[in-house]
Every structure is written in C-alpha cells, then in structure tokens.
C-alpha cells in the first residue's frame, strides 16, 4: 500500500465524515465569524477601521478556529477508538498523519474563504487586490499551523485535559508562523507592493512548514506506538 494512497484514503474518509455531519466546519466558521464580528465592534468606529487591524484579526480568527477544528477532528477518532483501527492497519503511520493534515488544512482553508470577504468588508481592507499572493501566504501559514497542530492533537488524544493542553502547547510553537502570516498580509495591504518583503515572509513560512512536517513525519510512528 503506497504512502500517497493511504494519505488519500484517510483524507477522503475525513472529508466524507465531515460532509455527513458538517460538525467541525460549521462550528469553526461560526466561531471565526463571531470573533471577527466582536473585533469589528471594538475596532471599527464611525465606519472607519483601525489601521492595520485586519491582518491580525484574520490570523487570530484562523488560529482559534484551527484549534477548535484540530481538537474536534481527533475527538471524533477517539470516541469510537477508530484511531486504534487506523494504527492497526498495515499502513505507514506517517501516511495517516499526512491524510489527517490534509483534512484539517482543507477545513481551515474553507473557513478562510468565508472569513476573507467578511473581514475585507468590515475593515475596508483590500484583501483581494493581490489575491494570488494572499492565497500563497494563507496556504503557507495554514499548512505550518496545522502541521504542528495535527501532531500535537494526535499526541494528546488520550490525555484527559487535552482541550486545555492543545492551545497551551500549540500557540507558543506556532508564534513564528502566525507572526509571519500577519506581517506578510500587512505587506499585501500596503499601496505599493514590496515583493522582496513578501518573498522573505513566504520563505520563512515555507521553511517552517518543511521543518515541522519533517519532524512530524519522523516522530509520528513512535509517538503513536506508546
């Protein structure tokens, strides 16, 4: 059974379960949209948004919604002990990690698609002016955040206080990728595009992604055996 085939099977299964229940996507979108609306009440005065608020709000909403999605995805595997069934299969365990990662990235990207027009409208931010660059920034940041989050959520699946521990472990380690995401999005909102600066932040996020995906692939098997 090839690595990619196992990843695809796990990814397709996660999407099918989500399409049936709509549980994680609905709660993540509801949570993220609520957060953005609360920030809009605080930071938009007399129709004018606070300068530079939009990128920070976008990434805070993504990070919080991501934590919710990560926790629920593995809670679903824990409830019927299906994670054990996955680990019993004669498949590369890192391939299972990749399948779960792809599923969570897809859910979070879908949440971002809903958030972007809302933030652009409420904060008068020209987020779609450089849509290609923004897509690259969001994808790089989301993959990095989810790469670490998927590993931690899988590690914590049997820990009783997992809901508390996940953000406590996840946020400090993902600070670099969240800061890079906020800074890169801010650069995209400037009147003049600084391509060198965008490339710098994107390179930083890509390096973060490579380092943490490699670490996760290397450590997933021993972590899941104990």
């Amino acid at each position: 059974m090839s690595f990619l085939r196992v990843s695809w099977l796990v990814f397709r299964k996660d999407l099918t379960v989500e399409v049936r229940s709509f549980e994680i996507l609905a709660t993540s979108i509801f949570f993220a949209v609520s957060a953005v609306l609360f920030f809009a009440v605080a930071f938009v005065q007399e129709g004018r948004a606070l300068d530079g608020a939009a990128p920070g709000i976008l990434w805070i909403a993504v990070a919080f919604a991501g934590t919710l999605a990560l926790g629920r995805t593995f809670e679903r595997e824990r409830q019927a002990e299906t994670l054990q069934a996955l680990l019993l299969a004669p498949a590369d365990r890192p391939a299972i990690y990749v399948g779960k990662l792809l599923g969570i990235v897809t859910l979070l990207v879908t949440t971002e698609v809903v958030l972007l027009p809302l933030i652009a409208y409420l904060f008068q931010a020209p987020l779609f002016a450089r849509a290609g660059w923004l897509a690259a920034v969001l994808l790089a940041g989301t993959v990095g955040y989810c790469a670490v989050g998927t590993l931690f959520a899988a590690m914590l699946v049997r820990v009783r206080s997992r809901d508390v521990l996940l953000p406590v472990l996840l946020y400090p380690i993902t600070i670099p990728v969240i800061i890079a995401g906020v800074r890169a999005t801010s650069v995209l909102l400037e009147p003049e595009l600084d391509v060198a600066m965008i490339r710098f932040w994107l390179s930083l996020m890509a390096a973060y992604d490579v380092v943490f995906i490699t670490l996760a692939l290397w450590s997933f098997e021993p972590l899941m055996t104990e």
């Binding site: 196992v6 299964k13 379960v17």
Partner: protein
Amino acid sequence: MSDPSGAGELDTLVVEGLARHFGRRRAVSQVSFACRRGSIVGLLGPNGAGKSTLLAMLATLLRPTSGTIRYGSLATIAGGAGRTGATAADLRRRIGMLGHDLFLYPDLTARENLAFFAALYGAGDARRAAHRALERAALADRGDDPVSSFSRGMRQRVALERALIQDPPLLLLDEPFTGLDDRSVAALMRRLSGLREDGRILLVATHDLDLVEGLFDEAVFLRDGRVVELASQPRALRALYQGVMARGRS
C-alpha cells in the same frame, strides 16, 4: 492460514514472560501462555487485570517492557530488542482486532466503513470486499445505512467483519459480548466457532462468563496483571473463575 508472501506462518502464538509497566505501575507482569491454530483462548479476569493491555501488546499497539511474543515463524517481538522477522506492516496485516468500542465511524455507512478498511488493508476491489463482508454479517440490505442507526448487535456484526476484512489468522477480541441480547450472543458464538474451524487463533478477553460457557479451548486467568491459572477445556467457567480468583487473593 496460508501465507502468500512466504514470510513465515502465524500458526502459533507464544507469549513468554511478557510485562508492561506504565511508570511504576505494572499493568502486565510475567505473563506466559501459548495458543495454537484452530483454538479459542479466553483471557479472563476482573477489571484492571491487564486483559486489554495484553491485547494491545499482541496487536502491536503497545511495546512490551520485557518478555517476548512469538507470532509462529512470522515474527518475534521482544521487549527492549524490538521486532524481528516480518515487517510491522506484514505482521499487522495478519492480526485482526475487535475492540470494546468497535472501531467504526458512526457517520459513515456500513459499506463505507468496510470499504475504507478493506482499501487500507490493500484489497484490490474494496467495494467488493465490503459487499462480501456485509453478506457474511447478514446486513447486505442495510449496507447503505449509517452505522449510527444500527443496534449494538448489528454494529458488532459489522465490527467483527471489519476485523476480518483482511482474512487474518490471528483475531483479538476485547469484551465482544458487551451489550448484546441473547440472539446476538448466540450468533456471535456461532461465528467465533466457525472461525476456529477455519484454523484461526482467537483470543477473547471477557468477564461475561455465563455467556461463554463451552466456547474456550484454553483459559488464561489474570489478576493484577499476572497469570494465576491456565486451564485446558475449561468447564463450569463461573465456578472455576471464582475458585481461581479466591485462591489468587489468599
């Protein structure tokens, strides 16, 4: 069971001095027993006796702290030294496990669950494998219903076929009779007896002693992670169990 890869045969299961510690707690300690092809072995003991930990080690989900597990001539797992013989994937392909929590996705249909696991175990035609499994479970007409709409007995039948989807020579069952009505228990007993006649090794952890009378060829009585008695062809199981556990306490 035939072995198409030629990597060795899983015709016996021999456990020697097996132990698993969690920190200072000894969940399983110095457990030894052997099972042969075509037999059902009962793992009997109160809650916390170490039955599930033992099954998890046999299923390769947990590493032993010490001791060895010999899967016939296929592979050996030794605490501290790791695995020799077949690869982890080859070994797992020959082990089926039915957990207490059934290992099924409630939002997926029975057919989707079985097809997913068949594909994960490398079946060439996963949908066909799922259809055959549904027929064996006598649930072909309910195959497209979500598992969440099934009774416990129906879920158990799907879960058992999920554990057998790759035709494993070794089947591990953790409390398979929990929550079943009399009819479902009788059907499961018949199915397990049939699997024994196919030449498989079955290990059944249970404390539903009245339900399994006459099922086991061997019984391993566990208490506080240790084997307190091994019995061949055990009869009058509840009386035997109570006698063994009383001796274990004294």
